[in-house]
Amino acid sequence: MAIMSFIFVFFFFSSLQPILSLYEDQVGLMDWHQQYIGKVKQAVFHTHKTGRKRVVASTEQNIIATLDLRRGEIFWRHVLGPNDVVDGIDIALGKYVITLSSGGSILRAWNLPDGQMVWESSLHGPKHSKPLLLTRNLIIEKDNVLIVFSNGRLNAVSCIDGEVLWKKDFEEESLEVQQVIQPPGSGFIYVLGFAASSQFEMYKINAKNGELLKHESTAFSGRFTGEVSLVSSETVVALDSTGSILLTISFHNGKISSQQTPVSNLLEDSPGLAVIIHPSVTGIFAIKTDAATIFIRVIGEGKLEVVEKTNHETVVSDALSISEGQQAFALVQHAGSSIHLTVKPAHDWDSNLLKESIKMDQQRGFVHKVFINNYIRTDRSHGFRALIVMEDHSLLLLQQGAIVWSREDGLASIIDVTTSELPVEKAGVSVAKVELNLFEWLKGHVLKLKGTLMLATPEDIAAIQHMRLKSSEKSKMTRDHNGFRKLLIALTRAGKLFGLHTGDGRIVWSHLLQSLHKSESCRQPIVLNLYQWQVPHHHALDENPSVLVVGRCGPSSDALGVLSLVDSYTGKEFSSLSLVHSVAQVIPLPYTDSTEQRLHLLIDADKHAHLYPKTPEAIDSFQSEFSNVYWYSVDDDNGIIKGYALKTKCSSNVADEFCFDSRELWSIVLPSESEKIITTATRKLNEAVHTQAKLIADQDVMYKYISSNLLFVATVAPKASGEIGSVTPEESWLVVYLIDTVTGRVLHRMTHHGSQGPVQAVLSENWVVYHYFNLRAHRYEMSVIEIYDQSRADNKDVWKLVVGNHNLTSPVSSYSRAEVITKSQSYFFTHSLKAIAVTLTVKGITSKQLLIGTIGDQVLALDKRFLDPRRSVNPKQAEREEGIIPLTDSLPIIPQSYITHSLRVEGLQSIITVAAKLESTTLVFAHGLDLFFTHYAPSRTYDSLTEDFSYALLLITIVVLVAAIFVTWILSQRKELQDRWR
């Protein structure tokens, strides 16, 4: 019998081998990754050659990307970093993508097929100016040349190796160069600009060597505004600063002649301030006023003629030369639920090359940009395709009156994320629908079994993998038992709300918020944050959860606020409010009303508190907790942290019973000459702490100081707030504070000398971990502070606990004197960080891991045990048993613990952790330009069997064992019988 049980135990353990990291075939089972490029700023098509047609795009997120023109997939992309703004892109020699970035000081060439950088040259000049990039087939001594005007210098750069062939400085202080033109077929370049805003300057330069051939200038009475529009190779149009006079300047044969036309001559009604919107269609330009877009043609010597005036939102593309001397351009106009795409030849306004009407999703808003490209149709006529950028930053390709593909690039700029539960599964729908039929189910399990017994053929393995990836289970639109399926609600900068399914990352719904749309009352809407408004538990079957979107009309903090309530299941905006006050802070209160709407306190710029929802019931439940509401504000610029409490009803003239005055309770003033606030961190509101006591090695207990009002503040010397290395270690320090935000008491304050920001911090339970740079050691460091409550330390006595003579259950008041002790330790860490978060589980039992967004845009999991201030070089045996790791000076980076495995979340901004219902598992969502989602179990999935657990193998094992028991039993019986007979 002992052998039997041994065999059984052996089999059992061999089937439960712990998984230390992800295996190759598990990629994509629970995780998904989406790549985006952001809002496209400029696009260039590459369709000349045979082979794959592609489009090169630069975006507002400083990305250069090439997309497949057939499907919209990314071939390659490069993120240029936040300070390296792309100024212009083009394709040269048919194989290089040329980018001009960083205000015109960096010129790079990338290989078009694979995105490898070919060369890079830095262009410096005497002064800052508007960067201009010009690529024409300009050939100097068999060398293709790029003309770049940047930083007050004209450069001719070789396409082959990026070498600067010649340069010419324009040092005149007030000169603003607006256009650089190279008339086709000529050997010279015109540089046009304004000097002192009132003088038109024209330089004619030899394209071969940069020699100045001619310089002409003319003064005007008015002043110019920015843009000039080039209407032909020898004529430009400009607006004066009042926006009411159009100047037509021609510089034929080096002679400047000009003509002024008041805008009011062209239009009957006074249009208000006009702006030139379109810079490059021959013979035609457009001006935009508040009410309309006007297309004007230049006829002959400075004569202007209005060709069309549209009141709709109209977008125009650049000119595209379609054949010898013929140009075309595209116009996109909105009409109801569809858009009209019109392609017109430049010389003839009235004829259309193409006119299409395309049905467009209302949720994409207006068209912001359009880029066109032509191709030869099967019938040898010209066909056109257009790439359009919408208001929600999405990118669409239109061809033959249909949307070929679309990309939701708004998701590259997520501002805030929250989660929502999915609908509860209605009874009667479940099993039969899911498990298609018994045979399928059996087949799947047999396949799985084959896989585990290593009998499967490669085709079988592929089938198994496919089955696992396409499991319908994970993408169902209902709640699951483990809480893995949720809706991720993401708010993007464009004011669009997306509902993403956590199972496969698909967009369940998306909605452009109408209340945060540009309108008369709200000129510059800005979305701020997302909060959970209503999470129904009691009425989960018949009520939908909803989220609150907070925005404001304008960039300043005293602009009026806008609230919008959105249904989480459908994405429909069911209510919106234009507030009469500003929104400086939103505090979700831990109280709900009878419909389970969460009470929110909105603090305006004048420190008045406004309660939402505005119902009598809300105010009733709020009154009882009135005196227990405290909040704080951090003024980074002045280094002042203040705490507030509610006082009375608003004393303003308008009777508003939902408005309250506040009073200042405490303040902390940091000396401005020595400290500057750079980071603050608080605990997550929904974090659960399982136990407040911590058992330490020698059977001793320490009580964690657990307060949801703990604030971590990090300050640096004002000098040291710049780049790393800009100060010496002596004049740089980092001070960290732990502050109780109810009373304003500083619980702990500590100085790191010779250290510098940037600081990334995370606060959880009773500890805070932060990351900074140590200038003395020339390395990044991570420190941990753990804070323990001493006032409860005398509760160790068992008898006290038994008799009930302890203070563990009494309410904790912040006004009691905090008797805390802190423990702290620092370690070196190799990476610099982009974000830091901590795993979050539903009951807080599972041990914590830190999730570190590395500089390489990956997410690394680091066990919190490595950041335990009780680590020592030689831990005692008892401490080792407790799990204390011997002290090392640096934190290890274990390659297997990258939870993004081989993927990168480009431009990583933040990591969000959400608890699943299963205690062992936390859901991790990392976003930046890319999105990445996975399940993560910090201590392995100890409370459930893994997905690939083979039930069939278990069954077979049991059957075999039972059979073996019987066989051996019979054998032993027989033997015993024989023995007896002997």
Binding site: F6, F10, S810, D889
Partner: protein
């Protein structure tokens, strides 16, 4: 002569011994800085405003030391407010301002004299107690040029203060001559819900603590040998140092099974010979050894 030498050397040793002790004393001054000046029980008996306690007599060695870092006396006031009323003076902090040779300035020897409540203030405080409202205090953020940039405000529910007398506890966080924050409240706990309780004596017993910033612990620096390049992967290496059992259990268990099997087999062999004898007569000495396992086998 020898005697003289001995005496001289004795004196020399004494003086050498005493010199470090002088240095130590000056060091003690630093320690003293962080100690709190406690306004004990004797003070709150006097109904009059507590006079500033004269600093303890400083020894000549201290004087000499402080010549290097000049000392000066400064005062700054504590204001208080009842609920939302305006602030009014409530007491005076006096301290020595120590200017260090390297230019830094710190406060030492903080003393606090509290003005007792006037009758009007008592009334106000009683009102606060009844309405469970806030008693607020404020300090200048810069002690040299008050109020500095702004006042440091702190407040406490008035019901937290009364015990026998009015007990208060200040922890003043300083950075040089700047006051960053003040933790103000009762010296002990203030259990919630707060009950209305009037103090027996309307006088303050104040405790003040001055706190300067702590130094953070340095990251441990290990010598090169220990680092050895492998240290970064220390945790990865660690599994290699597992015990023999942990490494080879998967081989050991089958081996153990085989051995057990073999043993039982071997056991059965002699048993076949033994079975005939066992019921018949007493065990031979060799049978005693085998009996245990064999009975175990049978029990199966």
């Amino acid at each position: 002569m020898k005697w003289v030498e001995v005496i001289v050397s004795f004196i020399l040793t004494l003086s050498f011994l005493s010199f470090p002790s002088c240095g130590f004393q000056s060091d003690e001054l630093l320690v003293d800085d962080e100690e709190f000046g406690l306004e004990g029980a004797p003070q709150h008996r006097s109904p009059e405003p507590i006079p500033t306690r004269s600093p303890p007599v400083t020894s000549p060695t201290r004087k000499r030391h402080s010549d290097l870092d000049s000392d000066s006396k400064i005062q700054f006031s504590l204001d208080h407010a009842f609920g939302d009323s305006d602030f009014s003076p409530a007491g005076t902090f006096s301290a020595r301002l120590k200017t260090w040779s390297h230019g830094g300035q710190t406060l030492t020897k903080l003393r606090f004299s509290r003005n007792n409540f006037s009758d009007v203030e008592k009334e106000k405080f009683k009102n606060l107690l009844e309405s469970d409202d806030f008693y607020r205090i404020r300090l200048p953020s810069n002690v040299l040029s008050p109020p500095g940039r702004d006042f440091i405000i702190s407040s406490v529910k008035a019901r937290c203060l009364p015990r026998e007398s009015l007990d208060e506890h200040f922890v003043i966080h300083m950075e040089g001559v700047n006051v960053l924050a003040v933790n103000y409240g009762s010296p002990g706990s203030c259990p919630y819900p707060r009950n209305l309780k009037l103090p027996a004596k309307w006088s303050f017993s104040s405790h003040t603590v001055l706190k300067n910033s702590e130094q953070a612990p340095r990251a441990p620096v290990f010598t090169e040998e220990i680092l050895g390049g492998e240290n970064a992967e220390g945790e990865v290496v660690q599994p290699a140092e597992r015990s023999f059992w942990a490494k080879y259990w998967m081989y050991l268990i089958p081996l153990g099974l085989i051995v057990m099997n073999a043993v039982t087999q071997a056991m059965n062999m002699p048993e076949e010979q033994a079975t005939g004898q066992v019921p018949a007569q007493g065990q031979p000495s060799a049978g005693a050894v085998q009996r245990g396992p064999s009975s175990a086998v049978r029990r199966r």
